[in-house]
């Protein structure tokens, strides 16, 4: 393994780990606030229990997100000093703002967790809302950085270096809105449907408590609308990629030859050597229609670009296919749940719908992971599209396989423990309502 590949792998693993917790950090506070709001409105104790249990989960997951995010901020320098030397002054601004949003989130999460008895109900709910809003704001600021890497604006170049910057223009690059929208919706869809799936599983396995019915509904209120909107947001993103990163579009669609009225390929395996995509189901004119909303629009193929500027085609194409397939399945199940709710039927009484919810529970997180493969691997060999190559950004330190191994092991252990801890918390809810749902820390206090 080359050092460059080791560095990319370590960054991919770190981001891939962090992003799950980042998504949960965006969406879970919203669900917890909704549950508390329902409690204030209805005074049904089950909603309070729900808000408290979810808050306990948020505390753990937020902590894991915070440490893994700290790791990432260091890794920018440990693995990509060339990138930071090049782009620090422009990506530093949204990163600073993200720091503030994260700070706000941490502070008010503390207020929320320890203020149940101390604050008035309204102030407590407000603290939760601040957590939810600042969580989403963090995501938006980070996505501004990534958007800039895809569609860099606000920089004046001379001799391969940035000589003047306009950080505001950099933050508002063309990809900023589409990517931020896509990621925030992804957070709500993935987390909402994952939590819904957990409660659906409990309901299918004999848990009859009202707790799980209510939890399922609140989770669906967050997850289902986002899952339904996500295909539209995907369309906005794809059209931007088509116009701003044609090589990435060609890779994710497995399009090797420049073509008018290009077909949409479903599935298939791109063979970069032979410059062709095999075994795909082709829908005539589909790609031209989707990417440019025009029947005969010309789609650039990879062969229009120098071979050295091709991203790895097969992983990008396959990741994209998987993301779209999973997203579609999630939207379908969301639609089904919406239909059942619209017919005024109890979702918890529909065994097949519950089964479908259980099945799609992990889809959102998997789709997120492969979605990041699409955007990151699809941008290769560039770290900043057209301006800086990844190979020029990587640290000169040799032996990067060692930190890659260490951090991978660390994340494997951490991930395993998180799953075990959350699993234990969920199993607790199987029986009768527990009297005390406070964490040991709070009990001691």
């Amino acid at each position: 393994m080359t050092d460059l590949l080791a560095a990319r792998s370590q960054m991919a693993i770190s981001l891939g780990f962090h992003i799950v917790f980042a998504e949960i950090g965006v969406a879970m506070p919203l669900m917890m606030v909704l549950a508390e709001w329902r409690w204030l409105r209805t005074r049904e104790a089950v909603y309070l229990e729900l808000a408290r249990r979810w808050a306990k989960g948020v505390a753990i997951l937020f902590a894991v997100g915070a440490v893994s995010g700290t790791v990432l901020s260091f890794e920018l320098g440990l693995l990509w000093p060339g990138f930071m030397r090049f782009a620090g002054p422009i990506v530093g601004v949204p990163f600073s703002l993200e720091g503030f949003a994260f700070f706000t989130e941490a502070i008010f999460l503390g207020v929320y967790l320890f203020g149940w008895e101390r604050l008035s109900p309204r102030a407590h709910l407000l603290a939760g809302i601040v957590v939810a809003v600042s969580g989403a704001a963090s995501a938006v600021f980070v996505l501004m950085v990534n958007a800039w890497m895809n569609t860099p604006t606000g920089v004046t170049m001379a001799a391969g270096r940035i000589v003047a910057v306009d950080p505001v223009a950099g933050m508002l690059s063309p990809a900023a809105f589409p990517q931020a929208l896509h990621m925030v919706l992804a957070s709500y869809a993935a987390t909402g449907l994952a939590v819904a799936g957990v409660h659906a599983w409990m309901l299918r396995h004999g848990a009859t408590r009202d707790f799980h019915r209510r939890a399922l509904i609140v989770a669906l209120w967050v997850g289902a609308p986002a899952a339904l909107l996500q295909p539209l947001s995907g369309d906005i993103s794809a059209r931007l990629v088509a116009s701003s990163q044609p090589a990435k579009l060609a890779a994710l669609e497995g399009q090797f030859l420049t073509q008018r009225g290009a077909p949409l390929r479903i599935g298939g395996w791109p063979d970069a050597q032979a410059a062709t995509t095999r075994y795909a189901l082709e829908i005539p004119h589909g790609l031209s229609l989707l990417a440019f909303h025009e029947w005969n629009a010309e789609v650039k193929g990879l062969t229009a670009f120098p071979r050295a500027d091709w991203p790895p085609v097969a992983p990008v194409h396959v990741s994209f296919q998987v993301m779209v397939a999973l997203g579609t399945a999630m939207a379908m199940v969301a639609l089904w749940a919406a239909w059942v709710a619209w017919r005024k039927r109890e979702i918890a009484e529909q065994p097949w719908l519950l089964l479908a919810l259980v099945l799609v529970a992990p889809f959102g997180f998997i789709a997120t992971e492969v979605g990041w493969m699409v955007t990151e691997v699809g941008r290769q060999p560039w770290v900043v599209q057209g301006l800086l190559r990844t190979s020029d950004a990587v640290t000169p330190m040799p032996g990067l396989i060692v930190p890659l191994t260490v951090f991978t092991l660390l994340y494997v252990v951490l991930g395993g423990v998180v799953v075990a801890v959350i699993g234990a918390m969920v199993r607790e809810t199987a029986g009768e309502p527990a009297g005390d749902v406070r964490g040991p820390l709070e009990v001691r206090a």
Binding site: A59, I60, A63, A66, V67, S68, G69, T70, V71, S73, F74, L76, G77, L78, L79, P81, M84, R85, A87, G88, P89, G92, V93, F95, S96, E98, G99, F100, F102, F103, T104, A106, I107, F108, G110, V111, L113, F114, G115, E117, R118, A164, V165, D166, P167, T395, M397, G399, P403, V406, F407, L410, L414, V417, A424, G439, P440, L441, R444, A445
Partner: protein, 345 residues
């Protein structure tokens, strides 16, 4: 070295803000690390009470404390990208080790508090928490010590020409950085013991922490003199700054006075004074380091001025910092008040 009047402007302000953030981090996060050290060395008949009280005081704050470190990192790469790149490159190994420590510590603390109901698992997480809390300050001190020797800047220039050892290991694996690592550990441990003694209401427990604070204060003296002794050979810039420059004498006197005050206050059980003096001592040492290497960020060639980002970036971030301070400082005080009320409930 005599005091050279350097230009003072926005770049210097940013360097100052970074040191302020680092200062807050060592006073808050440093005390959290130090508390973990005393978890590791919990002993005697009240060892379980010591551990419980330590967990209790760290409470919900640690996530909020950690953002100061994130602020240091973000401001450094935003305002001084070339310095950040050099630090990340040459000090890759100690920084990565520090990260491993931070991750293990933070995660273990939360899992111990919230996770398992089994006593044994809790004990295991507690052990990991304690060991990582002890290990991480060493690496933080090593990083700071390595920067101040000037070897980092030299190593960056030798990349590709010199051996792996001399570029990526030698700059930090030498007597002065290691001595600073030990000093950081002793300082954090002392600070934490003083805080813990101040905060507990339990008489015997307070005596436990008082004794620990006194032991740590002695360790600080030994480590500080050890570091100064090897500085002569390894960190001439640091030594010249700390001993020879115009501001050095009052600075040294103030640091020494706060150290003596802290020990005296502990001896006579004046915990409020001890807490202030210990915090002052740690802060003065940090600022002494910062002034001694001013205007260098990464001696011996990267300065504040030759690594600074374009002015527009600094202006925007400065406004963001001002707005953030207006919003966040009251919020942070509110959190502390909420937590304090909860605790005395």
């Amino acid at each position: 070295m005599t005091f050279v009047p350097a230009p003072l402007g926005l770049p210097e302000l940013f360097a100052g803000i970074i040191v302020v953030a680092l200062n807050v981090y060592v006073l808050t996060g440093g005390a959290d690390f130090g508390a973990g050290v005393w978890d590791l060395f919990a002993s005697g008949p009240r060892r379980n009470q010591q551990r419980d009280f330590i967990a209790h005081t760290i409470g919900p704050i640690w996530e909020a404390n950690h953002v100061w470190l994130v602020l240091v990192v973000v401001l450094t790469f935003t305002a001084f990208p070339a310095a950040f790149a050099t630090l990340g490159t040459v000090l890759h190994i100690p920084l990565a080790l520090m990260l491993v420590g931070i991750v293990l510590r933070g995660a273990a603390f939360v899992f111990r508090g919230y996770g398992s109901r089994s006593q044994e698992e809790r004990r295991n997480w507690g052990r990991i928490f304690a060991v990582a809390s002890t290990f991480t300050p060493l690496t933080l001190g090593v990083v700071i010590g390595a920067v101040s020797t000037g070897a980092v800047g030299v190593a960056q220039a030798q990349i590709g020409a010199a051996s792996f050892r001399s570029v990526f290991v030698a700059p930090w694996w030498s007597p002065f950085p290691v001595a600073v690592g030990v000093l950081a550990l002793a300082l954090f441990a002392m600070l934490a013991a003083v805080y813990l003694a101040y905060e507990t209401q339990d008489g015997p427990l307070r005596e436990d922490f008082r004794r620990r604070a006194l032991v740590a204060a002695v360790a600080v003296f030994v480590a500080a003199f050890g570091a100064l002794a090897v500085a002569h050979r390894d960190a001439p810039l640091m030594r010249a700054g700390l001993v020879g420059s115009a501001w050095a004498v009052p600075f040294q006197v103030a640091t020494g006075l706060s150290a003596i005050t802290a020990i005296g206050a502990l001896w006579w059980r004046r915990y409020t004074v001890a807490r202030l003096a210990a915090a002052a001592q740690l802060s003065l040492i940090l600022w002494g380091w910062a002034f001694a290497q001013f205007p260098y960020l990464v001696p011996s060639d990267l300065t504040i001025r030759n690594t600074v980002a374009p002015r527009i970036t600094l202006v925007i971030v400065a406004w963001a910092l001002a707005a953030g301070a207006v919003l966040l400082i009251p919020s942070l005080l509110y959190l502390r008040r909420t937590f304090a009320t909860q605790r005395t409930r």
